[in-house]
Symmetry: C2
């Protein structure tokens, strides 16, 4: 364990900004094809090109009459144009009439523009006063009331870009274009290891003296799911020398990211650093974030590893700030999607140290963010919070009344 002590001395703390800019593994999760119905929030590995133009035909965007635009020039309420009604276009079918000069055809919204026509007059600017004749009371320009066959998407154009998680409208557009499956990055596999002699599985009914159920692992799994990852519960490792190194070697074979929630004692923390040093290269040990200072980041042969602080609140805060962006990056997305935010005013002054990122849990009521204080070891603080406020690294604090973004816990 001399290595552990050694590494603690050797590595200085980094800031969160430094970690986000500098701890950027090249690794990306594998690429797999998934059906469209399973592609929500998945990240395309490449832009998806449209196999054909959309809508694919000149399509009416209004209910009205297909015309030759020139036949409507000069039409007005006082002096309408009169056109011969030659029939009607049916939805989802080829028109069986053509529009010759002086003629028109009834058009439903979404219908195919018949041959000979170059515009659709809205029904509001027409009247059917005599059988077989339509009065036009307003002119329409060529192309009016229709969309071109490739106006929505040209053939070969990108329907969705690479690297941005797919959203509901994307799935609609892909479906419209006839795309039935997409090549996306696999959900990154995140191995979650808990350590600490006091930690027992959360399924444990009766606790022994000093035992605590594992709270961090189930909460981390939820954060991983929310960030598009696939959490793999890799169990609890006790503080026995070598046990963590062995477990790390096992999970590294099949993980895109490894998260170790350290035991809370100094012994367990040293154990973690020593074990990690045996399987990878420690990038930083200590992060300028509160809560969350005893964080460790390492590169284990290309697989990033995050050593989280022992107390669950700190662990979840650090994972949110460091692990979530990393997870998106592993799945091919360099810009994580925006967070749920509510704007509010601080109820009181908040102190911070320059160069340190502070994450303050708050409750929200009537536009006021009320900080929740108390020992940072209390999980109930997190569960009671409506969200959190971040005090940026350069700031030395925020005065009461400051308008802040409260980032919601999802």
């Amino acid at each position: 364990m001399s290595e552990a002590t050694g590494s603690r001395e050797f590595f200085t703390a980094r800031t969160v900004s430094e970690a986000l800019a500098g701890f950027r593994p090249a690794r990306r999760s594998a690429v797999e094809r998934v059906p469209l119905a399973a592609a929500l929030h998945r990240v395309p590995a490449a832009a998806v090109a449209s196999p054909s133009p959309l809508p694919g035909f000149v399509r009416s965007t209004v209910d009205g009459y297909a015309v030759r635009a020139a036949d409507t020039y000069g039409a007005s309420e006082g002096l309408p144009s009169y056109l011969d009604l030659r029939g009607a276009v049916r939805m989802g079918a080829a028109p069986d009439v053509t529009v010759t000069p002086g003629a028109c055809v009834a058009m439903p919204t979404g219908g195919v523009l018949p041959e000979g026509a170059d515009a659709v007059v809205m029904v509001e600017y027409t009247a059917a006063t005599m059988p077989g004749t339509i009065e036009i009371t307003r002119p329409v320009a060529p192309g009016g009331g229709v969309v071109r066959a490739d106006e929505d998407v040209a053939a070969g154009a990108a329907l969705v870009p690479a690297g941005r998680p797919l959203r509901a409208p994307d799935l609609g557009l892909l479906a419209a274009a006839g795309v039935t499956d997409v090549a996306v990055h696999a959900r990154p596999r995140v191995a979650i290891i808990s350590t600490g002699d006091e930690v027992v599985p959360s399924s444990t009914v009766d606790l022994g003296p000093g035992q605590v159920r594992d709270a961090t692992a189930p909460a981390l799994a939820a954060l991983v799911l929310d960030a598009g990852g696939d959490p793999v519960q890799a169990g609890i490792v006790d503080d026995e020398p070598g046990a963590l190194t062995d477990r790390l070697s096992e999970v590294l074979a099949d993980a895109d990211l490894v998260v170790v929630s350290a035991g809370s004692s100094v012994g367990a923390r040293d154990e973690t650093a020593g074990a990690v040093a045996a399987v990878g290269e420690i990038w930083c040990h200590g992060l300028a974030i509160k809560p969350g200072k005893p964080t460790l980041l390492a590169d284990c042969g290309g697989v990033p590893l995050i050593g989280l602080p022992g107390n669950p609140l700190s662990a979840l805060v650090v994972f949110g700030q460091i692990g979530v962006p990393l997870l998106w990056r592993l799945s091919g997305c360099d810009t994580p999607p925006p967070l749920p935010v509510t704007r509010a005013r601080l109820s009181r002054d908040l102190a911070s140290a320059a160069g340190r990122l502070d994450v303050i849990q708050v409750t929200l009521a009537d536009g006021v963010a009320e900080p929740l204080f108390g020992p940072s070891a209390l999980l109930s603080v997190l569960a009671r919070a409506d969200g959190y406020v971040v005090i940026p690294e350069p700031a030395t604090g925020l005065p009461a009344g400051t308008e802040v973004d409260v980032i919601g816990h999802r």
Copy 2:
């Protein structure tokens, strides 16, 4: 179909505010028990009480020495207190020593406070200069350096409230308290019906003239999933009289919410209104929202129904404004979780009508929101948008430069 025409004439448009305040079905989805690992974002049907206090024992929050606080009073760097070291507490185990006057015991963070001690002095304020003796250089008050056995949660206190979707930290707290499953509202079943003679399944490879693949249904399914619902694809119904009424009767037997995306033609829209009037009571036909005016809301024997406009963009906008809050309410949550928001400045003036809610798709770059215009029938507008800006009902527009919340498409 005279009913259809009748209902279109009869019902006046409502505002979105009126719909949100007035169209509030009493229905809630059934209650089911799910294991904790499947409970993320689910809505508890009742508050969950803690079966026991947390952490359950007087727990050290620091690394240091368990002491009787009175033995440290007056201690300073210049004049330390000297205490006999009687042993160490091990993690996850009952202490096998007691702290008598003048004595101390080494404590790891998270350890059980031994009998006789009432505080823990942080290791930073101690020195081990002679074997068997610890120097204390700063006094500690009773209760210092520890949390009470019920400080996180008292036995019987609520761990999580009813009606608020469970978030990652909640799962951690529930796990810590030994809760292994939770009674939550079932995901509301949302039957999605598409109508329109021109609409064909999105799996269709070769389109006939005038046909379009169903884009709305897959996109709606994604919005339903995001809002905690269970989408049930109920297929495409053609514009044949009676066909929609029959399908509605079938799906109403087993749905918490029914969504009908109307065909785009006026004929298909009339068909929808007529069919809905045959199975329920129309609450409004026409909504003061742009895009999305031809929206229909109905109560079908306690099951709410939303008739969406024919064009996919309008349909998705209306479902986001009306359907999503309704869906949360059906699952027992009256306050939907906050939305992903980015603040930005408008690049140009936006017009609106007072009393109407306008939803404008925008792209985002460098803190500027650039509205995307174009025929509202274009799905690609939605897929290109980074999010949308809402112009509230009372406003007649927003000038360029206004700071707005851009709500992200998830």
